[in-house]
């Protein structure tokens, strides 16, 4: 699940490719303590950390190279995390969950300066988890049923998704979302850092269409990138888990249970 909660403790994740950074900052603070104890008591501030993708950096080859992930995750995603932490250090917005932070800073379309960093941190977490090694192929069960219900067929959905990605002018993202009000799946295209969370919708899958996501591997051949994503990278496992969670918030109707 894509969650970046403020981490108030240091944990050794025991991850062989551990690269997340959990940091503390200590400040002296007034605190009544027994006089035999040290007067200088520390207050712990917590910051957002960079979560690792759920696979090794070379696991998505040949559709997304290790080098791309090293730069995209290691430099760009990490950069957003660091910038966000710097901004929040002295900000009244400190202490929210990521989703709250995004909704607050979006400010109904007039985003505050922290929005870009917060949203991009969340977006990239969500994106890594929208992919998996040996991904692609078809969804199954409830997700497939819902797609067929809302798009007519899986291939209609696939065509619409690819078309939406190709029609994006500039930097942005393409999303499969569950619209909470309309109670159906839909494909949404957003610019720059905009995330469907701000409209109260529930994202199921995302595709990063910023050039840095594909330029090293595909140069200007956007169509190949998008098609490879659909055929080989998209994680229907993640989509299923997210749909299951989403159904706790959106009533998609009764399942068709045959009468005995």
């Amino acid at each position: 699940m894509a969650m970046a909660l403020p981490l108030a403790y240091a944990s050794s994740v025991g991850n062989p490719f551990e690269a997340g950074r959990l940091s503390f900052s200590t400040k002296a603070t007034k605190h009544k303590k027994h006089i035999y104890q040290s007067r200088k008591v520390t207050k712990v501030l917590a910051y957002y950390g960079l979560t690792n993708p759920p696979y090794k950096l070379d696991a998505l080859e040949p559709y997304m190279s290790r080098r791309t992930l090293e730069l995209h995750w290691g430099n760009i995603h990490r950069g957003y995390v660091d910038s966000l932490n710097k901004q929040l250090a002295n900000s009244p917005l400190y202490g929210c969950t990521m989703e709250e932070l995004i909704k607050t800073t979006f400010n109904n379309g007039n985003p505050l300066p922290e929005y870009n960093n917060a949203a991009e941190v969340w977006n990239h977490d969500f994106f890594w988890e929208s992919m998996q090694p040996n991904g692609g192929k078809l969804p199954w069960g409830g997700v497939l049923d819902q797609i067929e219900k809302d798009f007519g067929s899986f291939s209609n959905f696939r065509d619409e998704f690819v078309h939406s990605a190709m029609m994006l002018f500039g930097s942005g993202w393409v999303w499969l979302v569950l619209k909470t009000n309309e109670r159906r799946l839909s494909i949404v295209r957003t610019s720059n850092a905009v995330c469907p969370l701000v409209w109260g919708d529930i994202p199921i899958i995302s595709l990063d269409m910023w050039e840095h996501a594909y330029y090293l591997d595909y140069k200007d051949d956007v169509s190949k990138y998008v098609n490879n994503f659909m055929d080989h990278l998209i994680s229907w496992h993640s989509a299923t888990a997210r749909m299951v969670r989403a159904e706790a918030f959106v009533n998609l109707g009764e399942p068709k249970i045959p009468v005995a």
Partner: protein, 243 residues
């Protein structure tokens, strides 16, 4: 003859060695002949005045080649497609289609305009690239920004801060006779920020302009591009517009 403009003479390698009657990756030649018959003026990919590798090491030859032969050419083709569809829609009186085509025209047409200016803004070092401006433009820069360094710093800061894709411009406000630094998003041409603005210099900060070489370190790209900046062109435009 018009087809020649689509195939660039300066390209050191044209991957598909095509004959004069095939189109290199853009839409077919059919529309071109038809459009000329109807009097519709289509856009054409301009040639560069220098080789792809001539701006290295500031901008690599690979980037220049892709940028010109793929990205700019795609803007030209897509603009021409949209233009033809627009023409048809206007002839039929299909208002919905006319409105729907606006974003494609703005994006691709803007891309064509911006990149055409961009190629003229750059010059190899041994042909005068990077030489600072003198005379009228030099004085105007000192007046409006304090110094050339201040201007460069301002443009680099705005370029680095730009979120997403876009351009950073040194613009002349024709009416107020003042220089200013502006940014535009995506492929919006400078005029979208003000009808009186004339572009003197533009820097493409789309990732395709630098990613292969500089990766995500946009500030390095912005620092180095000044080494191949064609101030002579900027001065010429300034002198003709500010007169």
């Amino acid at each position: 003859m018009a087809l020649r403009a689509l195939l660039t003479k300066r390209a050191p390698t044209l991957a598909s060695g095509l004959g004069p009657f095939a189109s290199a990756g853009g839409s077919g030649t059919g529309w071109q002949g038809l459009c000329h018959a109807r009097g519709l003026k289509v856009a054409a990919l301009p040639d560069l005045e220098y080789d792809y590798g001539a701006l290295a090491p500031a901008i690599s030859g690979e980037i220049m080649r892709l940028h010109h032969q793929k990205h700019h050419k795609a803007y030209v083709s897509n603009y021409n497609d949209a233009l033809e569809k627009l023409d048809a829609a206007m002839a039929k009186g299909d208002v919905a289609a006319v409105v729907r085509l606006q974003s494609a025209i703005k994006f691709n047409g803007g891309g064509h305009i911006n990149h055409t200016i961009f190629w003229k803004n750059l010059k190899p070092v041994n042909e005068g690239g990077g030489e600072p401006p003198h005379a009228t433009l030099g004085w105007a820069i000192d007046t409006d920004f304090g110094s050339l360094e201040a201007l460069v710093q301002k443009m680099n800061a705005e370029g680095a801060a730009l979120q997403g894709s876009g351009w950073v411009w040194l613009a002349l406000d024709k009416e107020r006779k003042k220089l200013l630094v502006e940014t535009t998003a995506n492929q919006d041409p400078l005029v979208t920020k003000g009808a009186n603005l004339v572009p003197l210099l533009g820097i493409d900060v789309w990732e395709h302009a630098y990613y292969l070489q500089y990766k995500n370190v946009k500030p390095d790209y912005l620092k180095n591009i000044w080494k191949v900046m064609n101030w002579k062109y900027a001065s010429e435009v300034y002198d003709s517009e500010a007169a």
